[in-house]
C-alpha cells in the first residue's frame, strides 16, 4: 500500500475500490457474479443429495412416509420460521449498510446470529430425540435402553390446533422401546402404513419386492432397512445444512466486526451483500428440506 498514492492521480476515488476495477458498479457486479458462481456450485452440491432422495423415495415411498412420521413437524416448522426471520434481518442489514447506518447494522447482524443459533439449538434438540428413540441409522450409536427400563414418556409437544386423532397417534409414537444394543429400530405400528398400502393397492413395484419375505408376508427387518435409508438421507442433508449454518455464523461474526468498526458506507457494502446471498441460499435449502423430510406421511395418520 506504500505505492498507493504514486499509482493514482489526484482525482477522487472511493475508499473501498480495488485497483483492478474501473468503478464501484463494476466492482459490485464482479463480486456478485463471483458469489453466484459459488452458489451455483452449492446448488449442484445439495442437488446431488436431492437426487439421492428422489431415487430412493420414488422406490420406497411408504418407508419414507414411516420415517417422516418419526420427525416432529412442529420443530421443523418452527425452524423454518426462525430461518425466515433471520433472512429478513439479513436483508435489512444490507438495507442499512447501503444507508451507512452503523448502529442498525450491528443490531441486525446480532439478531441474525441469534436466530441462526436458535435454529442450531432446535436441531440439537431434534437430534437428541432421535438418539433417545433409536433412530440414528448406525447400529450401536443410539441410546442403550435395557429390557424393562423402557417408559412411555411424552417428549413431543401436542399443539392446540392439532386434531385429537393426530395428537393421540402423536403420543403413541413417543413410547420408548427397549434397545439394549443401541440399534436402529422402528415400531410395529410403522408397518401399518405398508399394510394400508397393500389394502389400497398402491405399493410400488420395488416395494412389493423390498418389504416382503419369501412367504409374501411383511418383513419388519426388510422394512426397517428401507426406513434406515430415509434416516441416512435425513441426517446427511440436515447435517450438511447445519454445517452451512455454522459457517454462516462465522461469516456473520466477521461481518459484525467490520460493521462495528464502521467499514460499510453507501459506496462500499459488498461484503454485507455477498454474505447476505450466502445466508439466503442456506435459507432456500431449508425451505425445500422442510416439506420433503418432515411432512411426507402426516395425511396417513388420520
Amino acid at each position: 500500500m506504500a505505492n498507493h498514492a504514486d499509482t493514482h492521480d489526484d482525482h477522487y476515488h472511493p475508499p473501498g475500490l480495488q485497483h483492478q476495477f474501473d468503478d464501484m458498479k463494476q466492482q459490485m457486479d464482479s463480486v456478485t457474479i463471483g458469489m453466484w458462481a459459488f452458489l451455483v456450485q452449492e446448488i449442484m452440491f445439495f442437488g446431488g443429495l436431492f437426487t439421492v432422495y428422489l431415487v430412493f423415495r420414488s422406490r420406497y415411498p411408504m418407508a419414507f412416509a414411516a420415517g417422516s412420521n418419526h420427525l416432529d413437524p412442529f420443530w421443523g416448522g418452527l425452524n423454518t420460521l426462525v430461518l425466515i426471520v433471520s433472512s429478513l434481518t439479513m436483508a435489512l442489514t444490507v438495507y442499512y449498510a447501503q444507508k451507512g447506518n452503523r448502529n442498525m447494522q450491528v443490531i441486525l447482524i446480532v439478531l441474525t446470529m441469534l436466530f441462526g443459533t436458535v435454529f442450531l439449538g432446535v436441531k440439537a434438540v431434534e437430534y437428541n430425540d432421535k438418539y433417545n428413540h433409536g433412530l440414528i441409522p448406525v447400529n450401536g450409536w443410539n441410546k442403550k435402553i435395557k429390557e424393562g427400563e423402557h417408559t412411555t414418556e411424552k417428549s413431543s409437544l401436542t399443539l392446540p390446533f392439532e386434531t385429537k386423532v393426530s395428537a393421540a397417534s402423536e403420543e403413541g409414537k413417543t413410547e420408548v422401546h427397549a434397545n439394549p444394543k443401541g440399534n436402529f429400530q422402528i415400531e410395529d405400528k410403522d408397518l401399518e402404513l405398508v399394510q394400508n398400502a397393500v389394502n389400497g393397492n398402491y405399493l410400488t413395484q420395488s416395494e412389493k419386492i423390498g418389504y416382503f419375505n419369501a412367504n409374501n408376508e411383511i418383513d419388519k427387518g426388510m422394512f426397517t432397512g428401507k426406513v434406515q435409508i430415509f434416516f441416512w438421507i435425513y441426517f446427511v442433508m440436515t447435517g450438511l445444512h447445519a454445517l452451512h449454518m455454522i459457517i454462516g455464523l462465522g461469516v456473520m461474526l466477521w461481518l459484525l466486526w467490520m460493521a462495528w468498526r464502521g467499514t460499510f458506507t453507501a459506496q462500499y457494502f459488498a461484503p454485507v451483500e455477498i454474505a447476505g446471498l450466502y445466508w439466503h441460499f442456506v435459507d432456500i435449502v431449508w425451505i425445500f428440506l422442510f416439506p420433503l423430510l418432515y411432512l411426507l406421511g402426516r395425511h396417513f395418520l388420520h
Partner: protein
C-alpha cells in the same frame, strides 16, 4: 405497489445507494414466506393423495418454489441484478433439472430391483 417498485428501479440506476424495495417491501416478502410456511404445514394434514398419487408433495413443492422465487428475486436482489447474474442463477437450476431428469429417466425405466 408495482408503481413504486419501478420508481425505485429507475432511481437505483441513478444513485449508488439503491434502496431496492425498502422496508415495507421486505416486510411484504417476509409475510409471503410466513404464510407459505403455515400453508405448507397445514396442507400436509389433508389427504390430497386421494386426488392423485403425490399431490401432497406436489403442492408442498409448488409453495416451496414460490417461496424460493421471492427470496431469490427480492432478498437476493436478483430482480435488480445484471443479465449475467440472471443467466448464472437460471443455468444453475437448469443443470439441476438435467441431473434430476437424466437420473430418473434411467431409474424409472429399469426393472424394479431392490438396492
Amino acid at each position: 405497489m408495482a408503481n413504486y417498485l419501478s420508481e425505485e428501479h429507475i432511481e437505483g440506476h441513478e444513485h449508488e445507494d439503491q434502496e431496492h424495495i425498502g422496508i415495507p417491501g421486505y416486510l411484504v416478502v417476509f409475510g409471503i414466506l410466513v404464510v407459505g410456511t403455515i400453508l405448507t404445514y397445514f396442507t400436509s394434514f389433508l389427504d390430497l393423495d386421494k386426488i392423485f398419487a403425490g399431490a401432497n408433495t406436489l403442492l408442498a413443492l409448488l409453495i416451496a418454489f414460490t417461496k424460493m422465487t421471492v427470496v431469490v428475486l427480492y432478498f437476493m436482489h436478483v430482480r435488480w441484478s445484471s443479465r449475467l447474474v440472471w443467466l448464472t442463477a437460471i443455468a444453475g437450476f437448469f443443470w439441476l433439472a438435467i441431473m434430476f431428469a437424466f437420473t430418473m429417466q434411467d431409474y424409472l425405466t429399469r426393472s424394479s430391483g431392490t438396492f
